[in-house]
Structure formats: structure tokens, C-alpha cells
């Protein structure tokens, strides 16, 4: 899978956590390779994670099965490499999707919005990881949870777990609904509830 966004979002950390969850907690093999521009902040940035049962021969992605996009630039750059039948996860706060010419499953979460609501925009990547765990089988939710807890500063564990759980639950619900479109449709039907909440 590929996690992508811009520098400063914790994209590399997110990729690292996925790999760690697979390698250490799920006891599988995993590699994580990062790519970033020379700037520390703001440039396009992505991490490639390969998870396998067998030792990994080739640690780079020629095509991705799962693509998580947390910026418009990253979405446009990487959506082409997504395999037919793959899974696309987007942070809808920051990404507007265009028309896709292939059959992929799409899940969508306002990850950055959720993080802002939690008071720290910086945990958007962890919301996204929860979402990954909720919508895909790359790693188990338990492994991802443990990997998050052991990869963030001790003082921030509680906040990050909260961020993770929000993403996870949103993901589980969306997966049960059969993807973003079905989920959105269901949400539209329940618009009354939505607007009531907005009004309050």
C-alpha cells in the first residue's frame, strides 16, 4: 500500500506504523520505503509499505493495492498506480476526487476535520490509520492499535488512540455500508439528522 500526502502530515510515520503493525504485531514480513522532497515541510511525500507472509524480494511498489491520499497533489500523482480492483482511501477534507477510469473501491473520511475537532490537526494521519484498519485487511486493527501506541510520544498516546478509534469506527461503518458512495447515500437519506446536528 501507499500512504501519501505532504511533508509535515506525518505520512512517513503513518507508513512506518502500518509496517510495524504488520512486522512486529501481526508477525508478518513488511518493508517501508519513503520518498520525499528536500524540504522538511510542504512537499509531496509518500511512503510505500509492502506486507507479505514470505520474505519480501522487491520492496518497491509497481502498483498499489491500497492507496491512502491526504493531499490533492498526492492523489493526482498516485491514483494512476492503483491496481484494478484496489482500494482508494481519501481524506475528503483535503482531496477532491475526479472521475476514475478503473474499478476501485473507494472509502472517504474527513480525517483532517476529525483531527481538528479533536483539537490537534497533527493526528489526522492517525485518524487515517484507524480508517485503514477499519476498511482494509492490510493489518489487523489490534496490531495497528499497538503499533500506534508504541510509536507516538507517551504523553500523546491517549489523544492518538482517540483519533485512531474515530477513524476506525468510521471505517468499519463505511465498509459495512459497502463503500463511500453507499455510505454517503445512506447519510443523505438521513439528511434530516445531519442538518439537525448542524443546526444545534
Amino acid at each position: 500500500m501507499r500512504v501519501s500526502g505532504f511533508g509535515g502530515q506525518g505520512i512517513i510515520l503513518a507508513g512506518y506504523i502500518v509496517g510495524k503493525a504488520a512486522a512486529i504485531h501481526d508477525k508478518k514480513q513488511a518493508t517501508m520505503v519513503q520518498a520525499y522532497g528536500p524540504e522538511a515541510r510542504g512537499s509531496a511525500c509518500s511512503s510505500q509499505v509492502v506486507v507479505a507472509e514470505e520474505p519480501i524480494e522487491f520492496p518497491y511498489l509497481s502498483a498499489s493495492d491500497v492507496l491512502a491520499c491526504m493531499s490533492q497533489e498526492a492523489y493526482e500523482k498516485f491514483v494512476g498506480e492503483l491496481r484494478e480492483g484496489g482500494t482508494l482511501l481519501i481524506d475528503e477534507t483535503l482531496v477532491t476526487m475526479g472521475a476514475l477510469d478503473k474499478d476501485v473501491q473507494i472509502f472517504s473520511i474527513p480525517a483532517t476535520q476529525f483531527a481538528e475537532d479533536l483539537g490537534r490537526k497533527i493526528v489526522a494521519n492517525i485518524v487515517m490509520l484507524g480508517f485503514v484498519a477499519g476498511t482494509t485487511d492490510v493489518v489487523t486493527a489490534e496490531a495497528m492499535r499497538e503499533a500506534v501506541a508504541s510509536s507516538v510520544p507517551p504523553a500523546a498516546v491517549e489523544l492518538n488512540m482517540k483519533a485512531f478509534d474515530q477513524g476506525y469506527e468510521y471505517g468499519v461503518a463505511q465498509r459495512a455500508a459497502g463503500g463511500a458512495a453507499a455510505f454517503k447515500a445512506a447519510a443523505l437519506e438521513a439528511e434530516l439528522i445531519g442538518s439537525t446536528q448542524e443546526a444545534s
Partner: protein, 432 residues
């Protein structure tokens, strides 16, 4: 009081750079002198954090020249020592890598290769320092260079590098690269008691009789620690067994010949390779480091496409496994050598093939690793080529797909190297 933090037994998800640092820690490294440089900085950063935990010393020196010298000094004071760098820093270290060789000082240098020449591609991969590793310092010498294929091997081979360096009193190079250095992967660190750790032979005779450069039968002199009271003199000048400078052809022949022979005569112990399906193969991939990693997949894909192909992975690159390539050349049709440079190790393969097999270079100049398909294409192309025994080296520009003009060379006098002690066939497999 404190728990032993030198070996962090367990499963880790760490980068190749960090694994190199942990390999050093597990070997008992107590001193690191280094200078920041992409993509090797993470080795130094890890050591800065880790060494104080075991009472060791980390120092960020003013440049790579100083880094290299500091680890030599520390080694003579009795501490296992290491440094890490990349291209530009590797160039600066060459002067005192030579001093380390001349003073027979155990130490380990990790080179996380990036694209060059000059500043080149700081954040991108290359394997273009392989010849510099062998010949970069002036004068005649032999040293040992190892090339890991995974983050696990970054750990294993850095530990192994310390063992060789302690055993043979020679600086040992770990030739990794940016892609491995920055790749994060599962690394399993075994319990301390399961690790083989070699410490240098120490002189235990009476004070005043110690000759710091008098070798034992294995051509390696026992060592001492500064402050032990032997009051020795050590110089980078050509010297005798006492360490005293002697400016003569005889003294130089004696000393430098031994420095070379202590490695060459121990190639059976030093050369590590991984052999995959060599028996009966027409085509053999000879590769190392990240290019060998990619070749694993290429090998499988080519086999699926019907190619009769095997692979020889060089774990020890220097000293070069001459004998093994020489023997293989008699049995196989073609060697394919993928490497991320303009053709370095391929020259050694071609030399040892000596006209008995064709040698094909698959070259990429840095910035990206090979795609397995590029290697598969080369294998399949060779598989279709008519079998011929004339020596020819073809070069393929992997990136541009342009076929460069084939360099034809007649194998001349391959058998005349009677004086050269060639390696016995040594096949050691190291699990990856």
C-alpha cells in the same frame, strides 16, 4: 546496576541505517566518531542515542577526516570503534583509511552509497563507490568489504564486519546504499549469547618485549591497548616488527606483502556468497546489495518464463571471489551483472571469467533501483542468444534501454597469474 543495553534482543521495525548501528552495538562497539551526511546520518544519530546507554562514547567530529582518525585512536585505546558516511565523506576518509590499514587498526566504516560524483544525488541510491572501496586510498593493500541485501543483513554484516576487523586487524567496510539505509524493515536481533562476537588477539607476554607488528602464523600480529605499559611506537611510515620506520625496499616488501597476504590467504574464511540454482544454469546473475535484492524477483520471473538461470550473490565483495567466478565461467554461458553504476564489479567478473563465459553489464547510473523487469529482459535476451564461447562484454544501459556498443576484449593471459593466491571455492550461505 544497569541492564545490558548493548544487544536489543527482539523483533524491530527499523531502517538499514539503524540496523547498522545496532549491529555495531551488538558487536561491542564503544566509540563512534562521525559527521552528518545524507543518507548515512541515521547511523550516527542512532549511535548518539545508543552509545551513552552502555557507557560508550559518541562524538560528532568536525569532518570525515577527523571522524576516521578518531576511530583509529579509539581503537588503539582498546575500544571497538566505527564510523559511517556516504560518497563525499567516503572520499575524505580515504586518507586515513590507509592509515588504518598501515597501522593494522580494527575498525568498521559503513558507507551508505548515494549518487556521485561530487555532491551528486544525496537522497538517492547508487552503488558507484565499489571500486573506490577497493582502491580509494593510495598504495597497495587489501581490505574487506561486505554488501548487505536487507535491513536484517545491515545488522548481521555490521556485526560480521567487526568480527573480521578484530580477527584480521584491518578496517572493514559495510557497503550499503541509500535505498537500504532508508528502507524500514523487520530486523530480528538474537539473544546476546547466540551472537558470535570476536575480539582481537591481545598480547599477553612480558612488558618491554612486545613487537606490535610481529605477526603470528596467521599473519596477524596480536594487539595491545595504549596505556598497557608496552611503550610502543606506531607510524604510518613503512616499518619493521617493532613499529620503527625503515625506509627500504626490503622492509616495504615484507610489510606490504604481509598486509595483502593476511587477507588473501584467508579468503576461505572471509568470502561469503549466496548461491541460488547455480547447478546447470546457462545464465548466472552476479549481483550484490540492493541490485541483488531486486534480482531475487527477476530470477523467479525469468524462471517462470523458462530461462535456465541462477544467481550468485556477493556478500563479501572485497576480496573478490575470483576462484569461484573462474570455476563458474567454465560451466555457464553468460554472467549478467546488474549494478547501479557505469560498470565496476562487472570488470572483476569479466576478468575472472577470462573469456570462458560472456559477461553482460546491466547498468543504471543511480537515482533509482532496477525494476525486476529490466533484469528479466536481459536474462531472456541472453537466453535466446546463440551460445558462443568468445569473450565479450555487452553493456546495457538499463535506464535508457539503449544498447551501448559491445566492448569486445580478447581474453589474454588469464592463466598467467601463477603467483596470485586465488580463493578456494568457498560457498557460505547466509540466510536472508
Amino acid at each position: 546496576m544497569s541492564e545490558d543495553r548493548s544487544v536489543l534482543t527482539g523483533d524491530h521495525f527499523i531502517t538499514g541505517d539503524e540496523a547498522c548501528a545496532e549491529g555495531g552495538m551488538a558487536a561491542g562497539c564503544m566509540f563512534f566518531g562521525g559527521y552528518p551526511i545524507t543518507p548515512a546520518t541515521e547511523v550516527a544519530e542512532r549511535m548518539a542515542k545508543r552509545l551513552p546507554e552502555v557507557g560508550g562514547t559518541f562524538i560528532q567530529m568536525e569532518d570525515e577526516i577527523a571522524s576516521m582518525n578518531s576511530i583509529l585512536g579509539a581503537s588503539w585505546a582498546g575500544a571497538k570503534s566505527m564510523t559511517s558516511t556516504s560518497g563525499p565523506g567516503f572520499s575524505l576518509m580515504m586518507e586515513n583509511l590507509g592509515l588504518g590499514i598501515m597501522l593494522e587498526t580494527p575498525c568498521v566504516l559503513v558507507n551508505v552509497q548515494r549518487g556521485g560524483p561530487s555532491t551528486g544525488l544525496p537522497t538517492l541510491v547508487a552503488q558507484a563507490d565499489m571500486m573506490q572501496a577497493r582502491w580509494g586510498s593510495h598504495g597497495d593493500y587489501q581490505l574487506i568489504a561486505l554488501a548487505p541485501v536487507s535491513c536484517q543483513e545491515c545488522f548481521d554484516l555490521t556485526l560480521q564486519a567487526f568480527n573480521y576487523s578484530e580477527k584480521y586487524r584491518v578496517p572493514v567496510l559495510v557497503m550499503t546504499d541509500e535505498s537500504m539505509g532508508h528502507m524500514t524493515e523487520k530486523v530480528v536481533i538474537p539473544p546476546k549469547e547466540e551472537l558470535e562476537v570476536i575480539n582481537r588477539k591481545m598480547y599477553d607476554g612480558p612488558k618491554g618485549e612486545y613487537l606490535p607488528f610481529k605477526a603470528d602464523d596467521d599473519l596477524v600480529p596480536p594487539m595491545m591497548k595504549v596505556g598497557d605499559g608496552h611503550r610502543i611506537h606506531v607510524t604510518g611510515l613503512t616499518h619493521d616488527e617493532r613499529g620503527y620506520p625503515v625506509m627500504s625496499a626490503d622492509a616495504h616488501e615484507t610489510l606490504v606483502r604481509r598486509l595483502i597476504d593476511k587477507i588473501k590467504k584467508n579468503v576461505d574464511d572471509i568470502i561469503l556468497v549466496e548461491e541460488i540454482d547455480l547447478e546447470g544454469a546457462d545464465i548466472v546473475i552476479v549481483s550484490y546489495g540492493i541490485s541483488a535484492r531486486v534480482s531475487y524477483r527477476a530470477l523467479r520471473m525469468a524462471k517462470e518464463a523458462g530461462a535456465n538461470v541462477g544467481m550468485l550473490r556477493l556478500i563479501t565483495v572485497w576480496p573478490f571471489p575470483e576462484k569461484m567466478i573462474r570455476e563458474l565461467a567454465k560451466k555457464v554461458q553468460t554472467f549478467i551483472v546488474p549494478e547501479i553504476n557505469a560498470g565496476q564489479i562487472v570488470l572483476e567478473v569479466e576478468r575472472c571469467a577470462a573469456g570462458n563465459a560472456e559477461t553482460v553489464l546491466l547498468s543504471k547510473l543511480g537515482g533509482a533501483v532496477f525494476q525486476p523487469e529490466e533484469i528479466v529482459e536481459a536474462i531472456l535476451a541472453e537466453g535466446k542468444a546463440p551460445r558462443k564461447k568468445a569473450s565479450a562484454t555487452k553493456k546495457k544501459a538499463g535506464a535508457s534501454k539503449k544498447k551501448a556498443a559491445a566492448t569486445k576484449k580478447k581474453a589474454s593471459g588469464a592463466k598467467k597469474t601463477a603467483k596470485t593466491k586465488s580463493s578456494k571455492k568457498t560457498t557460505k550461505k547466509v540466510g536472508r
